[in-house]
């Protein structure tokens, strides 16, 4: 079986990739960040809609998210592209997490063109410096795997999610961390998860986080169908949010629930966690990665190519038809359980092994295609 290897960072965390991330601090820096990353071999960038306007009630959440994302140990160094001194607090916060970060202020270079010229030089130097990192044998206790589902269908809860649950249980039993998310897709499953909580406090939090979400939806006074479940879910046979949630919760297997964490909050000890994220595929992926997940295992019934600029996203189809149809976008087929080629257990073992192979360096489809979707989570509009 694959030996887990990674990059041991100065702050004690371990990365399974060694990216140079060019991160815009705010929208106005998007273009400069993109151009710098395009020009430098191996650099990656993301694009987002955070304006950074004064007085925004989500400022703290966004700062925590961007900081956590940049500090993920899969990133060897960050070139933070900002406008001016107003972006220094973010740079300091990233540095405070033990990440190598250089702030490039566009205001010191006359705007985008000058910033790109300077930024390419800086990025090339950063790229050279991180090229010196080498993989070492990595303890499983340093690995955190996000458990995600997107484009779910009725088979999600029957094939791919339970198989991922078997993989998750194996990882957790061996000392790793796995993280379930998507609170809206746990409506109806919260008691099942709470019953596995390691203490009453965690159990209470598990139930509360789902009930809080339900109350917020009731306050909106809208028909949630079309949002949850989505048209694709419904076309794929999922009828209600509870049905979707019960299937979604299977990704977490049977392991005890060690804790419930906030969006982008890294857990302090290994185990199975639930992170408070929306169901939105990209908002949750960003939250998981900002919370320290180095790998995301992502089941899909309808098929989706999305990925993270800085973390491998292992796609697992629920059915063989979509695996064959969306060639190049999906890594593993749990539909093999229906055809009899695999049992639930053997598929779970395959997923477990694939997660470790990916962590040790094998690229996922999302990485080959360069998927780098990014979304800022908002709680206020």
């Amino acid at each position: 079986m694959t030996e887990l290897t990674g990059y041991r960072r100065a702050n004690g965390t371990w990365g399974v990739r060694n990216h140079l991330l060019v991160l815009p601090a705010r929208t106005a820096a998007n273009r400069a960040a993109e151009e710098i990353a395009d020009a430098v071999e191996g650099a990656v960038s993301v694009t987002h809609e955070w304006e950074g306007l004064p007085g925004d009630p989500d400022a703290g959440l966004v700062a925590r998210t961007l900081t956590g994302f940049a500090a993920n140990p899969n990133v060897g160094a960050v070139l933070l592209v900002g406008i001016d001194d107003g972006d220094r607090p973010l740079a300091r916060a990233i540095a405070g997490r033990g990440q190598t970060v250089h702030l490039l202020a566009m205001a010191e270079h006359g705007g985008t063109a000058g910033a790109v010229a300077a930024g390419v030089g800086i990025a090339e130097r950063l790229a050279t410096s991180i090229a010196g990192w080498e993989r070492e044998p990595m303890p499983l206790s340093a690995l955190a795997v996000g458990l995600e589902c997107g484009g779910s269908d009725a088979l999600s809860g029957i094939t791919a999610n339970p198989a991922l649950g078997i993989a998750s249980d194996r990882l957790v039993a061996a000392g790793a961390t796995t993280m379930l998310s998507e609170v809206p897709e746990l409506v109806g499953a919260e008691e099942i998860l709470a019953a596995r909580a390691i203490n009453d406090d965690v159990a209470r939090r598990m139930v509360a986080v789902v009930h809080d979400f339900e109350r917020s939806v009731e306050a909106l006074g809208v028909d949630i169908r079309g949002a949850q479940p989505t048209p694709g879910n419904i076309d794929g046979g999922l009828t209600t949010i509870e049905e979707k949630s019960l299937g979604a919760a299977k990704k977490a297997g049977n392991a005890p629930l060690t804790g419930v964490v906030d969006f982008a909050e890294p857990p302090t000890i290994p185990g199975l966690y639930v992170m408070d994220t929306p169901g939105h595929d990209i908002e949750q992926m960003v939250g998981l990665v900002a919370g320290g997940c180095q790998v995301v295992a992502f089941t899909t019934g309808r098929g989706t190519p999305t990925g993270s600029a800085i973390a491998p996203c292992l796609k697992i189809s629920t059915n063989t038809a979509i695996f064959e149809r969306m060639e190049g976008d999906i890594d593993l087929d749990a539909g093999a359980i229906l055809t009899g080629e695999e049992t639930l257990q053997s598929m779970g073992d395959r997923i477990h092994d694939a997660i470790l192979e990916v962590a040790a360096g094998a690229p996922t489809c999302s990485e080959r295609r360069g998927n780098r979707e990014f979304a800022i989570r908002r709680t206020h509009y």
Partner: protein, 94 residues
């Protein structure tokens, strides 16, 4: 050699099963005559379900019947509502 199942009842207490191949009227799965076409991944009723009765899958409630459902027929958004979150009745009231 056992025939591969065409529908899965995930728990013996469930009153629905999930089609894992497209089913046609006239098929028989899990001893239940199928009364209409059921698409891959969609559910059929394993027994008659009265309006208001819970729909059971994984031995958990996944919703309530919004009208009477006959055994062997399609169970989905046209005859099931969530027991948890607002549905069409919410927009109708708005």
């Amino acid at each position: 050699m056992a025939e591969r199942p065409r529908a899965l009842q995930l728990d013996p207490a469930d009153n629905v099963a999930v089609a894992v191949v497209p089913l046609e009227a006239g098929d028989v799965v899990l001893d239940v005559p199928v009364r209409e076409a059921i698409r891959f991944g969609h559910k059929l009723a394993l027994r008659d379900i009265a309006a208001g009765e819970p729909i059971l899958k994984y031995h958990e409630v996944i919703g309530r019947a919004s009208r009477d459902i006959a055994a062997g027929t399609h169970v989905h958004v046209h005859n099931v509502v969530s027991a948890r979150l607002p549905g069409p009745e919410q927009e109708a009231a708005a």
